[in-house]
Amino acid sequence: MSSHYSDKFVYHEPGLQHQFDDMGQQEESVSIGMWFFLVQEIMFFGGLFTAYLVFRSKYPMAFAAGSNHLDAFWGGLNTLVLIVSSLTMALTVYYAQKGNRNMQVILIVLTMIFGATFLGVKAIEYTDKYNHGLIPVAGLNKKVKAEAGAEHSAAEKPCWEVDHNAPPVEHPNPHGEFIWTDCSLAKMALDENILTASEKNQYLVRDENNKPVIDANKFRDKVRIFFFLYFVMTGLHALHMIVGLGLMTWLLWSAFKYKYNGDYYMPVEMSGLYWHFVDIVWIFLFPLLYLLGRHFIHGG
């Protein structure tokens, strides 16, 4: 019996891929690969955070005004939903290490339910933006019937004279979409003299007495930048959630077939890393998008 022949029957762990010497080497290679992937994901989102940083430092009041159009309730709820899903994901890894197949299956299903809930809430929010003319591309919002005189009355009144307890005065643009005209935050900053140099350049026009006043259209252009970033950042994040749900589907199937145990659970662990990463991105998106202008409303 040659040694060549007996080599074929040498024992190795069922989960070991042939290119690795042992499970330790395989686990180390797998996790470092996954972490390098996550590092480039951080840079991927980092580009958007950089754009956010640049434009928010230039137009802080436009960002605060745009942020106040978002519903912090839905944003906060989604933060909690993602944190619960992170817990169920972490427990999935825990039970995969214990080799408990039934608990794995239950927890993966729970993780998927919370992931889907997150996307459902996102859909509610996007619909709300669509209905209220907040999608930053003209022509992509809901068309409304022009109310008689609405455009006229909105044009008459200065954009900062807004009754925040009454429903917002909106009037349709030439595309037939609602546009809102609230520039009270910029007016407040102008009165307190805290506008940045860029804001003074970009929001203000001279009135008939040569006094600087806020121009609603110019201000809205900068709020639109906030909504561009809002849709791209949350959209990219939602895309990651959809990919995550795909991963979970595959994980559910293989866990259902008793694939993972204390010796071999790296696919569960790596999917978990990805899921937690998506959670971390949202941990930053929530305060940076939803809560900017909150203290202007409550704190006064």
């Binding site: 972490w35 840079m43 940083l53 305060p287």
Partner: protein, 97 residues
């Protein structure tokens, strides 16, 4: 790590989320401009640290994993710093505003 410890981390994350919301409703910008954002980011970084250390098991990982995790923020800081040192120092003239 035991289930109780996972639940403790989870409780801390929920508390952090509520704290983020409450902090955002208080006007801290009266002390200095950007105080609200600073507090929000501090809470977010704390939450992230707990997720990374315990949910993502970095705490029990090899040094190489620690290095990858920390290096990512280092690269991010370079991107932020070099972008802002340009934008914040643009003077008057064609490139102002």
């Amino acid at each position: 790590m035991s289930i109780v410890k996972y639940l403790l981390v989870f409780g801390l994350l929920v508390f952090g989320t509520i704290a983020t919301y409450v902090a955002a409703t208080v006007d801290m910008d009266r002390f200095f401009v950007g105080a609200n954002t600073l507090v929000a980011l501090f809470i977010a970084f704390t939450k992230m640290t707990f997720v990374m250390l315990f949910f993502m098991h970095v705490y029990w990982s090899k040094r190489l994993i620690w290095l990858a995790a920390v290096a990512s923020f280092f690269w991010l800081a370079i991107m932020f710093a070099y972008t802002m040192q340009d934008y914040l120092t643009r003077g008057s003239g064609v490139f102002s505003s």
